[in-house]
Amino acid sequence: MLTQTIDRPNLAKSNKVTPRREREPVSQTKNDYSDETIWMLAVRDTRDRGAFAALFDHFAPRLKGFLIRGGASPQQAEEIVQDVMLTIWRKADMFDPHRAQVSAWIYQIARNRRIDIARKENRPMPEALKEEPELEPDASQILGLEQETTQLKQALAALKPEQREVIEKAYLGELTHQEISMQTGLPLGTIKSRIRLGLQRLRHELKDLTQ
């Protein structure tokens, strides 16, 4: 499994005595998590209303902007924001920071809600993975995913404006699958491949389960 811990170079060869403390991996603790992750974990683990309010302050106006861009009226958008925020509170135990950033998790909830309303039928969802409850949080994995997301953000920012616009339209649900397929210049695979860690962990866990 890929870890983000970096071993310090072995200094023994240079005849220098390395203090034990120095040879420990670069410290990566939950103190380094992004604010969004810290708030979401507080909501999940301790039902922290202050943290929920902080999530609201951060995400509600973005969600409203996102939904209006996706074609909702301001009033519809606020109704959906309300549903999404309540879902975040109620389904907090489904949030797994090893596999999803808070923004990705909320994106998925918002898209589901929008579709359920538009089509008046539930969007089919994959079965939820059953995590082993005793699994210790792995700070390096969580931070690794955050770093990948930062790289993803940079990759998106580096796109030509026309490409960026098409990507935004695709993920706002404004393009059909045929239209996305026809955008041959779209670096979908390249962008997507910035997020490898979740996939690797998933494979690792599933292998453990089947062995």
Binding site: F52, R62, R90, I115, E127, G173
Partner: protein
């Protein structure tokens, strides 16, 4: 179980993540993702792209009362959404369309059976039961057809498809899937148009069979 080799293409997965994929295909994709760690990881990557776009969306101020209104609802009782678990060969999303019933097979002739789970102007989702060595009625189709193998396997002009494999065929493919020897092949077939059978069932009978 042999490894899954036929996966969901990126454009289709992005469209599923964004919610622009027609319902019938969304059932097939959600079912494949339930069985396939590779595509689950890829889907999570697409959701991460959506999350970054959400984060970067220009915020629009929400009305002053929204936050208090949501906070006041946190303790309100609510009905959790039903969870559809896998049952035998049927993944959760298929169980949802079947509404937890066992399949209700109707004979199509030559030992082939089908159960139409949903059908409307936008497409259809069916289960197909094909005895070993038997061909699925030779057909071509308008639009796209997705076939997910749930039991046994089939082969056609494009390759071999085992449990979990997803075949995607567009109108340019006139293929003849034949169930391999061994267990009967059971598939989920999703289309965004009516099938046109070339043999076995005269076209006149199509309205009767709703195929």
């Amino acid at each position: 179980m042999s490894a899954i080799t036929h996966h969901v293409p990126d454009a289709i997965l992005a469209s599923y993540a964004a919610g622009s994929l027609p319902q019938a295909f969304a059932v097939a994709v959600a079912s494949h993702v339930s069985l396939c760690a590779h595509c689950r990881g890829a889907l999570e990557a697409h959701q991460a792209v959506g999350g970054v776009i959400l984060e970067d969306t220009k915020a629009v101020a929400v009305s002053a009362s929204l936050k208090d209104s949501i906070l006041a609802q946190l303790d309100a009782p609510y009905t959790p959404e039903p969870v559809y678990e896998r049952n035998g060969i049927f993944p959760g999303p298929v169980m949802e369309v079947m509404q937890r019933h066992a399949p209700r097979w109707k004979k199509l002739g030559m030992g082939v059976r089908q159960d139409i789970l949903s059908a409307d102007a936008h497409g259809s989702v069916r289960l197909l039961y094909i005895p070993p060595g038997q061909a699925v009625p030779d057909h071509s189709h308008n639009g796209l057809e997705m076939t997910l193998v749930l039991q046994g396997s089939f082969s056609d002009e494009t390759g071999r498809f085992g449990v979990g494999d997803l075949e995607i065929a567009d109108e340019t493919v006139e293929h003849t899937p034949v169930a391999d020897p061994g267990a009967a092949c059971i598939c989920l077939a999703a289309t965004d148009a009516r099938l046109r059978f070339n043999a076995l069932v005269p076209r006149l009978l199509q309205p009767l069979f709703r195929i």
